[in-house]
């Protein structure tokens, strides 16, 4: 059952078989959670958001176009939901600062300084560049798959990714990440 392709699992879910959706959750939860973590630097938020994304995906599964690939659809939802979350968080940050609420940090999980630098640099990138870098290097998607996920042409993906890579590397150089 684990080896079933995404489309079969989607169709089975639509027929009321919830465990099939469970397999899809198992298949993508880690990647999506990791991507959100890269963007938010908040494990709790990343976990909650991942759960919300799958719930949202399930409730909107009927609108999923079977011509497309499931992962590109769920990655797109993930990106949009995370960007919305970051906007909301930005709005409430001054209040949190005023109340001296410490931000939930990632201390509970062991991670290297290099990983932290990557994460911080990613957060300082332009929104579209960040999405492209994550789709390419976190999810490991091809140019065509990124184009499908973002709904733009492959040519645009290649062109934008070129500048995104240069900017990302330049910012990382400034943090002495490569030394």
């Amino acid at each position: 059952m684990i080896n079933q392709d995404d489309h079969t699992l989607v169709l089975e879910t639509l027929q009321g078989n919830q465990p099939s959706f469970g397999i899809l959750v198992e298949r993508y939860e880690k990647k999506i959670y990791g991507m959100i973590l890269q963007m938010t630097d908040d494990h709790e938020a990343a976990r909650d958001l991942t759960q919300e994304i799958f719930l949202k995906a399930y409730l909107n599964l009927s609108s999923f176009n079977l011509k497309h690939r499931f992962f590109s659809w769920i990655y797109r939802i993930s990106l949009n939901e995370t960007i919305n979350y970051l906007k909301r968080r930005k709005r409430f940050q001054p209040l949190e600062s005023a109340l001296s609420i410490p931000a939930v940090e990632t201390d509970s999980i062991h991670e290297s300084a290099a990983e932290k630098k990557i994460r911080e640099t990613l957060r300082n990138l332009r929104e579209d560049y960040r999405s492209l870098i994550l789709l390419k290097y976190w999810f490991g998607l091809s140019y065509e798959e990124i184009a499908e996920t973002l709904g733009i042409s492959t040519k645009k993906v290649k062109n934008r990714l070129y500048y995104a890579r240069l900017t990302f590397r330049d910012k990382l150089l400034a943090t002495n990440y490569f030394q």
Binding site: Q18, Y33, G34, L37, R47, Q51, S62, W138, R165, R169
Partner: protein, 257 residues
Amino acid sequence: MDKKLIELIHEDLEGKLTPEEHHRLQERLTTDPEAATYYANWQKLGKDFEKSRNNLPDLQLTREVLHEIQAKSDRSSIPEAIFHPPFWQRQTVKFSFVFIAGLLLGFFVFLFLAPDIRTGSSHEEQMKGTLFGTRNTDQMKLADNLLYEAPGLRATFDVRYSGSMVEARVSLNCQSTVECMIDFNPSDFQPLNVTSANSDANSSFTASAGWVKMVSVGDNEYIVWLRNRNNLPNQIRIRLLSNGMTIYQNTVTVNKE
């Protein structure tokens, strides 16, 4: 570093280059320190991304997500697959098509009935009588209305115009043969048509470039159409002749304004 080299480096890092291409690139990197640094940087980044992915804890969200789904499902029904019918079978498309067809039909019906609406008379009413009475000249401007009466002879001339079109209606009621001549300058008018609208065998008409001649005995009606070549106020002359002698003559100016 040029864009092409950067693309090549990333393709190599993704393992998309052939062994030959890979070898060529590695050789080039030995002579290009900037490109070599770029290559090393992205190699390190790739490894760190992979390390991050591998370091992630197991979430095991499945149970929680399915539990949430179950809770939601108890409140509402499971999502149903939406069937998207073909374009022409969609209700909106059907309604739009019928609506547009209705509008077009309405428009053509309006065009068909519009003249009657404007003149305020029914089509049926206009069809009554002879051709002489059926043509509605209400929309034409009156140039002049002439009447000649003598014992045994009554003649009326109704001359109207609209744009370059001039229409002269001649009604002759005579006991003996009478000739009616309509003369005009060929450079001002062009004779288009003469119709004997209501005549008997004893009447005839002829026309040339500068005149129209009607010979009549009894009750006869004619319609003469001329075209005013320059739309200027031009004159036509109307004469009645009996036995070669002019017994009446008058001139009418059209396009007066």
